[in-house]
Structures are given as structure tokens and as C-alpha cells.
């Protein structure tokens, strides 16, 4: 849906470059530079604020307050088991986390899982999207079948993978000579990536399918007439035109994958150095009951996610969602 809106905006921009420039200029000059508003415009603006106030208040209550409270907790020594020892400690909790090898190791594991799983999901998702796009017969059936893994609850799917890889009882473990990959770091991460890819490739395919709809059929035919091979058409025509959809898909998946929790919780519970940053945060908050250190972990995860989103929007800026310049 975002993609479709993007396309529409692009059309508008092209239609009236003059208005856009003026708009940009007005933004640069900021509020003060604008002409004074008429009484009616002011009243309308006030009505606008009043009308959206309930939504703003609800959003503040359910997001801003918890985030703010987490930041506040992260500056305290606050352990539920030692309530009497609570005190303000400034940034000490952040020092604890950043100087701990556990944090850096969890960050590395999370990054590895994110990069590998999203890369595989992209390639497979693109292939599935092309199949869904090109399918002539049984289109509905194919789309349904492809979406089944995404419809299964992650925890349920993860239990399926866990039992499959358990020696003695699991069919996959038996296939590889009673292998026990979940008891070893590298293989454990491999199984986690496999479970992630299996589960969310359909979502990637769905997002990319929306992008494929942006590629005009005439352009492909024209390329064909010019003698482009199927591969050249994919690389030179389809992918560049799909760029906005690809960026949306990658951004969504990277942010999602970075917060991976449930499959790891079921598969290894973070044992054998397979914990992600979210698992580490959970263990410190809910098992160790150390709200101070745990909250600083949460805030750090939040900052890393924000940084990734920022890099995506800035680095690939032109076509990313929310980007202003759509050329």
C-alpha cells in the first residue's frame, strides 16, 4: 500500500514541479517566514488539533510513556530483588552493558542472523513473487500455498523445528545421523536462520509482489524487442523500477529480524551463545529482575533499531518511504 501511495506522489510531483519547489522553499524558511494565517485558517487548524488530540493522547499513553519510563529506569540501580538499594546511577548501567562481552556477542549474533536471513529471504522472496506474478493458472491457489508458513504462529513453527532437530525423535535430526544442531553455536544459528527464512519469506514475497505490479508490461516488451535476455530484463528493468518496494521490504524485514525473539526463545532459549539482543534483554529483565540494566539494554536496542532505520532512509534516501524527493 505504501508503495502505491509512493507512486501516486511521484506522479503529482512530476505534474507540477513549480508547486513542489515552492513547498520546499516554504519548509526551509520555516514557520516564521510564512504569511500570517487568516482567522478562519487558525480556527480550522485549532479544530484539526482538537480532532486528533484523542489519538495523540492514546499514542502518547501507550508508546511515549513506556519508552520514557524505560529511559528513566535505565538511569537507576533498580533490582526487584533488592528494592531497598534503588538509587540514581546516571549512565552506569549503560557502561555495564557496553563493557560486557555478552552484549557485543549478542549484537554480533543478531546482526549475523539479520543479514543472512534477510539476504536469503530477498532472493527466495523475489523468486516467489515472480512466480506469483507470472502464474497463469491457479493463481489464487499458488498465492495461498505460498502464504501458509506466514500464517502459522511463530512459536508453533519454532516448536516444529525444535522437535524436528531433536535427536531420537526428530526426522531432520535422524536424516543427518542423529545430529543435535541446537546444542552448538554455529549450527544453532543456522537452524534459527532456517526457521526465520521459512517463516517470513512469504511476507517478503508479498511486499515484492506489490512492487512487481509497478513494472509496466510495455516496458518489458520493449526490452524484449530490443533483445534483452530474461536476466537482463530482471536486472536492468524490473529491479530498478521495483526499488521503492524493495527498500520497503528490506527495511521492514531488517527491523523485524533484528528484534528476533520468539523463535530463539523456543529453539535454544539463547543457550550456547545463540542469544539475540532481545533474548539478552528478556533474561535480564524477567529472569534476573534487574530493571535498571535490563531497561538500558532495551534503550540500546531501540537506539540500534532507530540507527538502522535512519541509515536506510538516508543512505538509500531517494526512494525510501517518507523520503521527500522521489526522483
Amino acid at each position: 500500500m505504501t508503495v502505491a501511495v509512493d507512486g501516486a506522489e511521484r506522479g503529482n510531483g512530476r505534474g507540477s514541479p513549480e508547486t513542489e519547489r515552492q513547498g520546499n522553499e516554504a519548509k526551509r524558511r520555516g514557520r516564521r517566514g510564512r504569511a500570517p494565517l487568516s482567522a478562519r485558517a487558525r480556527a480550522e487548524r485549532r479544530l484539526g488539533w482538537v480532532l486528533c488530540a484523542p489519538a495523540v493522547i492514546v499514542i502518547l499513553a501507550v508508546t511515549a510513556y513506556p519508552v520514557g519510563y524505560a529511559v528513566y529506569l535505565s538511569l537507576q540501580r533498580y533490582d526487584l530483588r533488592f528494592p531497598a538499594d534503588s538509587e540514581f546511577v546516571g549512565l552506569a548501567n549503560y557502561g555495564t552493558v557496553l563493557s560486557s562481552s555478552l552484549w557485543w556477542q549478542a549484537l554480533a549474533v543478531t546482526a549475523v542472523i539479520t543479514v543472512i536471513s534477510v539476504a536469503i529471504q530477498f532472493v527466495l522472496g523475489l523468486a516467489l513473487a515472480l512466480a506469483m506474478h507470472r502464474a497463469m493458472i491457479g493463481r489464487g491457489l499458488i498465492r495461498t500455498v505460498i502464504l501458509i508458513p506466514y500464517g502459522i504462529v511463530t512459536v508453533v513453527a519454532a516448536f516444529g523445528w525444535r522437535y524436528a532437530w531433536t535427536p531420537d525423535t526428530g526426522y531432520l535430526s535422524g536424516l543427518f545421523g542423529d545430529a543435535a544442531p541446537l546444542t552448538e553455536q554455529v549450527q544453532g544459528i543456522g537452524v534459527i536462520v532456517l526457521a526465520e527464512v521459512w517463516k517470513t519469506t512469504p511476507f517478503m514475497a508479498l511486499l515484492l509482489l506489490a512492487g512487481l505490479a509497478l513494472v509496466p508490461e510495455d516496458l518489458l516488451r520493449a526490452a524484449k524487442v530490443d533483445g534483452a535476455t530474461a536476466w537482463q530484463r530482471l536486472i536492468r528493468v524490473i529491479l530498478p523500477l521495483m526499488k521503492p518496494a524493495i527498500l520497503v521490504a528490506l527495511l521492514f524485514r531488517v527491523l523485524d529480524a533484528f528484534r528476533i525473539f520468539d523463535s530463539i526463545y523456543v529453539l535454544t532459549a539463547g543457550a550456547y551463545d545463540t542469544r539475540s539482543v532481545s533474548i539478552l534483554g528478556y533474561d535480564n529483565l524477567f529472569t534476573a529482575l534487574n530493571l535498571g540494566v535490563g531497561s538500558s539494554l532495551s534503550v540500546l536496542i531501540f537506539l540500534v533499531v532507530a540507527l538502522v532505520a535512519f541509515v536506510f532512509v538516508r543512505g538509500f534516501g531517494a526512494a525510501a518511504p517518507g523520503g521527500e524527493d522521489h526522483r
Binding site: R77, F82, N284, T287, N290, V293
Partner: protein
């Protein structure tokens, strides 16, 4: 059982609302598979002469899951937390955080009358009783009488016997907990204690882990490097050990008594051959000190019916209920005289004497509010067993010292 709980809930709810009639108490406890706890709740409700009804609220099976659910509700001051089933390692934490109510001294004496001192100690923090022992637990060394004519007394004897069986091509594994979890910490604690040391000092404020800890790590490594180690040791919990032993691949098993009723049901032929003896020691001539386990019952600090909850605890931990828990569910009772009660022993508890000895020599896990973090550090640092080394002990000392101060991250 669900229907019973619902029925209890229905009649309790109507009573509490009206001010007259029985008070509804909620008992938070894990799902005991034989149904003995549900029967105890029903019997005690019926026997209270309309003072209270007990509804059972089932917690997850693993102790970490139980603790997380309890703690989450307690931190939110849930007033339905009347009776709490606490693992023996949580007493200090729940007492220090103000989640469990201490019993007045006189009441504490009545409630624990005739109970094993070691079990009562697990429910005590800073000389006050916070939780009444419901059941205790201790591991024994279970062995196959057809393979092992003379049961080993020390860890080394056990490994030697296993090696000989391996050379003869017979079942030879030693089944013991090795996954990275609480059970592995229990193994380490039993080994350290059996070598004559402890993990923390008596007050639970300083790390000890001296020469006995080195001896314990060497024992873990000796098993890991010997043919006696099950190939999947590093992923085994109590129930995996039970299963492996029942399927006949092992000669020894270090585990709790629940394996015995299970073996009689699943493999009666093999159950005939099961012998039991004390946990192997690390110091020849000295008794071993296996780790005491079990569950205690506490009154929640935010409960609105604390007097009724205390009475209900007295009933649930009473003699008849303890006998049923032991015979049906294999849970070792905390009443001392049951261990010499011939009718109880003949009624399905033949190893009562061995458990009694083990309990008298039992060691406790470190008593500190930060126990959970300490345990996580131990299991993490010494896992997997094949990589445990005495060199890691200094790292472990630092990690535990941090955990006691609630500094640092837990793995």
C-alpha cells in the same frame, strides 16, 4: 481436574462476594501430573468447615517459567496471590523483595513440627520461616544390578566401572544432567559440596569456590572425557536421563526418585534390575552431599486472606497429603517419621531409607536473593561439560561476585 477447579472457582467467587461463606484462596503451583495436588486442594477445602475453598492456578512445568509468572504478578501486587509454591532456591529472593509473608515464630514451630531440619532450612531466610516444606527431593545413584554387582561409592569408582563395561561392550553410560540450565548448577553444587566445599560462604555474601571447586570441575571433565559420557550429555535434562536409562543404554543414573515409578510403568523388566545407593562422593571415606530440592508453600504478601492461607498451607502440607504426593507422584515427604514408617515404605517407597540418608547429608544451593543470577552464571561459564576447566573458575568467581551485587549482565 479442570472441571473441579472451575467448580471451586464458582463457589468460591460467590462466597467471597457476599462476605459470608467460604473465602476463596488461590494456590499457584506447577501442574503435578498425578493429580495429587488437586486432590489435596479439594480435601482441604472440604475439611475446612466452610472457612475457605482452594482453587488451583496451574503454573508452567519448568521452574523458570513458574518463577517468571509468580514474580510478574507479585511485582504488580496481585491480591489473588494467596498460596505460592516456591522452589527451594527462591526463598531468599521472595523474602527480601517482600513478596512472601514471614510466619510468626510460634506458628512456624507448629507448621514445621516433625519436618526434616534440612527441608525447613530451605524455607527459612534470616532466621524467619517464609515457606513451609511441601515436599523435599534428593538425588540418588541409580544403577543396573545386572551390570554392576558392587555399586560404586566414589565418582572415580563409577567412571572405572563404566569404562570396564564399555570395554566389555555392555551398556555403560552415566546419565546425568548436562544441559545449560538449573540442573547443571545442581550437579556442580553437589560435586563442590561432596568435595568438601561450597559455592558461597554461609551468609551468601562472598564467593568461596576454593580447591573443592577445582576438584568438582575436574570430576565433570573426567566424565566428559570418558566413554561413560552420553553423546548428548550437553543437552540432557532430568527427563532425558530417565528416558535414556529406561531404554537400556545406561548403567548409571544420577537422578531424583521420580524415575522409579516411571521405570516400573514403562519398562517393568528393567525396573526389577534397578538398584540405588548414595550419590558418589569425591572424598573417599566421606559421605557425599547431594543437593536438596523440593517445593515449599508461602503466603503471598498481597493476599487479602493471609490467616486462611496459612491454615490451608497447614492442611496441604499435612500427613495424608504428603503420603499421597509421595506414593502417587513420587515426591519425597518432608515429615521425618515417614521415612521409617514400614507401611509407607511397603506402600510404594522402597528407597525411603536411602533418601533419608541423602537428605541428612544434603547440601543446599547458595542462599542469596540473587540466586537466579548466580545459577545462570555457573551454568553458562561451565557449559558445555566438555569445555569445563579449572581455568574458568576465576572468571566464574568474578561473574558471581558481580551477580551478588546485581551488577553486570546475566547470560
Amino acid at each position: 481436574m479442570l472441571a473441579a477447579v472451575l467448580a471451586l472457582g464458582a463457589c468460591g467467587g460467590s462466597g467471597a462476594g457476599g462476605g459470608a461463606g467460604p473465602v476463596r484462596l488461590t494456590w499457584y503451583v506447577y501442574n503435578e501430573s498425578s493429580g495429587a495436588f488437586a486432590k489435596a486442594a479439594a480435601d482441604c477445602s472440604a475439611g475446612s468447615n466452610g472457612r475457605y475453598t482452594i482453587g488451583v492456578n496451574v503454573l508452567p512445568n519448568d521452574s523458570d517459567g513458574q518463577r517468571q509468572q509468580l514474580v510478574r504478578r507479585l511485582a504488580a501486587e496481585d491480591s489473588s496471590m494467596d498460596i505460592l509454591a516456591l522452589d527451594v532456591t527462591w526463598t531468599a529472593e521472595f523474602a527480601e523483595a517482600g513478596w512472601a509473608m514471614p510466619f510468626p515464630a510460634a506458628q512456624a514451630r507448629t507448621l514445621t513440627d516433625g519436618m526434616l531440619p534440612a527441608a525447613v532450612e530451605t524455607g527459612t531466610w534470616e532466621d524467619q520461616l517464609y515457606a513451609v516444606p511441601l515436599n523435599t527431593n534428593a538425588q540418588l545413584l541409580w544403577y543396573r544390578k545386572d551390570l554392576v554387582p558392587q555399586p560404586p561409592r566414589t565418582w572415580d569408582e563409577m567412571l572405572t566401572a563404566a569404562r570396564r563395561l564399555a570395554e566389555e561392550g555392555k551398556p555403560h553410560y552415566v546419565e546425568v544432567q548436562g544441559a545449560q540450565y538449573e540442573g547443571y548448577t545442581v550437579l556442580f553444587n553437589s560435586l563442590v559440596a561432596s568435595a568438601g566445599g561450597q559455592i558461597l560462604n554461609d551468609d551468601g555474601t562472598e564467593v568461596e569456590l576454593g580447591a573443592p571447586a577445582e576438584r568438582a570441575v575436574e570430576a565433570i571433565r573426567a566424565l566428559a572425557d570418558s566413554p561413560a559420557a552420553d553423546p548428548s550429555w550437553s543437552n540432557q535434562r532430568e527427563d532425558d536421563n530417565r528416558l535414556a536409562f529406561e531404554t537400556g543404554s545406561a548403567a548409571f543414573q544420577l537422578n531424583y526418585p521420580f524415575i522409579y515409578p516411571s521405570a516400573r510403568q514403562n519398562n517393568p523388566e528393567l525396573a526389577e534390575q534397578i538398584g540405588w545407593t548414595q550419590w558418589p562422593t569425591l572424598v573417599p571415606g566421606q559421605p557425599s552431599h547431594s543437593t536438596i530440592g523440593g517445593y515449599n508453600l508461602a503466603v503471598g504478601a498481597h493476599s487479602r486472606h493471609q490467616a486462611e492461607a496459612a491454615d490451608a498451607i497447614a492442611c496441604i502440607t499435612g500427613r495424608d497429603n504428603q503420603i499421597r504426593n509421595a506414593i502417587d507422584g513420587g515426591l519425597p515427604p518432608t515429615l521425618e517419621d515417614l521415612y521409617t514408617d514400614q507401611r509407607f515404605i511397603d506402600g510404594g517407597y522402597p528407597f525411603a531409607a536411602a533418601i533419608y540418608t541423602a537428605l541428612q547429608n544434603a547440601s543446599v544451593r547458595p542462599q542469596t536473593p540473587a540466586y537466579q543470577s548466580v545459577s545462570l552464571q555457573i551454568a553458562h561459564t561451565l557449559s558445555p561439560p566438555s569445555s569445563a576447566s579449572t581455568g574458568r573458575l576465576s572468571q566464574l568467581r568474578g561473574a558471581i561476585a558481580d551477580a551478588l551485587e546485581s551488577k553486570g549482565l546475566v547470560p
